[in-house]
């Protein structure tokens, strides 16, 4: 139906842009281009002449798009924002997800509702993925520090691994800290005393 719509993605994050592009392709939108070079953003947009522009909110170049609302020699085709004033919920969902959408003037918003919904859900999925990755990395580095602290205690106090862990846990409970924090202090102290 509307799969011929010309969509431009402005996102400096290659992974998120790929996730979004894949989603759009799966939904049948094949005419999708990603712009990663910000220096000539407006020129690229004009040469691609898109119907829809999707841009991430961490991108300072969002203000460049504000120029397309203006009437001037530099602006060839006026662009309007997709969501209008009555769509407070849609704006909120988009901003929460970290994305903004623009369409050429005159395009009916029903025609791209699906695109925006998809965009929001992919952006949210990406944010979840990033959080999970961060948590996994934190957990990994915490585990490494705890292992090192256990090793130090086992050597210094001549105790078993289970006892070393119990010591860390008890101290953490007494001082109302995380085990990883106590472990880090042990590692730091051991390095100082080397």
């Amino acid at each position: 139906m509307d799969t011929a719509l010309n969509i431009v993605i402005v996102d400096e994050n290659p992974i998120r842009a790929a996730i979004l592009t894949d989603g759009l392709r799966e939904a049948g939108y094949t005419n999708v281009t990603r712009i990663e070079e910000m220096a000539s953003l407006l020129a690229r947009i004009y040469s691609l002449d898109p119907d829809v522009i999707l841009i991430d909110l961490e991108n300072p170049s969002r203000d460049v798009l504000a120029q397309m609302f203006q009437v001037s020699r530099a602006v060839k085709r006026p662009i309007a924002m997709f969501v209008d004033q009555s769509d407070a919920a849609a704006i909120e969902a988009a901003v929460d997800a970290g994305v903004s959408a623009y369409i050429v003037d005159g395009l009916k918003k029903e025609r791209i509702k699906g695109i925006l919904d998809l965009c929001i859900s992919r952006f949210n999925a990406f944010a979840r993925l990033t959080n999970e990755l961060e948590r996994a990395q934190n957990a990994l580095s915490e585990r490494k520090v705890i292992d090192r602290a256990k090793g130090i205690l086992m050597k210094l106090k001549n105790v078993s691994e289970a006892d070393a862990y119990a010591m860390l846990r008890k101290t953490a409970m007494n001082e109302n800290k995380k085990i990883a924090e106590v472990a880090q202090s042990v590692v730091t102290a051991a390095e100082l005393l080397k």
């Binding site: 910000m38 220096a39 000539s40 407006l42 909110l57 961490e58 991108n59 300072p60 170049s61 969002r62 203000d63 460049v64 798009l65 504000a66 120029q67 609302f69 203006q70 009437v71 001037s72 020699r73 530099a74 924002m81 209008d84 004033q85 407070a88 704006i91 909120e92 901003v95 903004s100």
Partner: protein
Amino acid sequence: MSGDSLRIGFIPLADASALIIAADKGFAAQEGLSLDLVREVSWSNVRDKLNIGLFDAAHLLAPLAIASSLGIGHFKLPLLVPFVLGANGNAITVSPALYSALALAADGDLTDPKNSAQALARVVAERRKKGAGPLTFGMTFPFSCHNYLLRFWMAAGGVDPDEDVRLVVLPPPYMVDSLSSRQVDLFCVGAPWNAVAVELGIGHILHFGGDIFARAPEKVLAVRAAWSANRDDVLKRLISALGRAADFINDPNNLDEVAALLAAPNRIGVAPEIIQRTFKGRLRIAPGGAFRADPDYILIGREGSARPEPTHAAWLYAQMVRWHQAPLSPDLLAAAKACFRSDLYDLAVGNHSAPEANLSAAPLDRIGAFAGPAFDADDVAGYITAAKVAFANR
């Protein structure tokens, strides 16, 4: 009264400093307010997050606050401005190549904007004759003093900003790169980007913003009109905290501490020396060359500049009309004036600093443009006509 928490969006620029000092030096806490300042990357983001209520208040371009209130360029979102966070603070920086061309074409001292604007007209004419493409000028947002400042200046020399040059929006952090890669020949932006270009040897500061308009309302504190409706007291305390923060910033004895607080990575995040030079208005204007000092380079609340003058709102609206961003209508003019709430400011700041006494330092028409007719808030149509006649004389 204690425990009121406000989430406020800002762009890391020198004129966000009253907000930052109010939050980080305890002036807000003294008023029982806790300010959660959120650093943003674009004015579009600040506006949208204020719009949907993610922010209670925002550091905003003064013209953007009016455009939002009038529903120009975007959705209509009635805003109130109870405090002007900064006046002036911009500069025009040109590439070494354009600087040489202007110097060659100038009939008289290039530091006089009349001369530089006429020199620009000659350079533009020369380029056209040779079939060279138009010069490209960068500014920060369609609804910004940077845009109006550049347009006013070049129009005074007979250069049509919409036909004779290419005027493009660039995010401030990209300005310097764009100048060095010759994507733009000139830009108008706030601190510290002009100084950065000069230090890198890729730009000359041609003018301080104050050369074009002696007093221009640059950034404001904006809140949604609907939000403010039942929050008189919170608003009053916020304005009061901002007033005290501005006073603190303007005491030279505090400059080291202020610059150190502002330099924090989650605040403005640039070297304290650059912030100090900005506040002192002391900038190197040519690579390896002389410094220029102007105490009015940037004003954070000094000389009554924090008071939102309806005259200033009318003047900003007049710039929008002059450059075809807005139609001329008495209703829109009245709505623009109504955004700038000097009454709320006076109520909160009271006799803490009498605005009338302080305004004696300001220009008669409150703007002090280097050319063209004096501004008259009661006759915006007449002002625009007069400005247009001056432009058509090219």
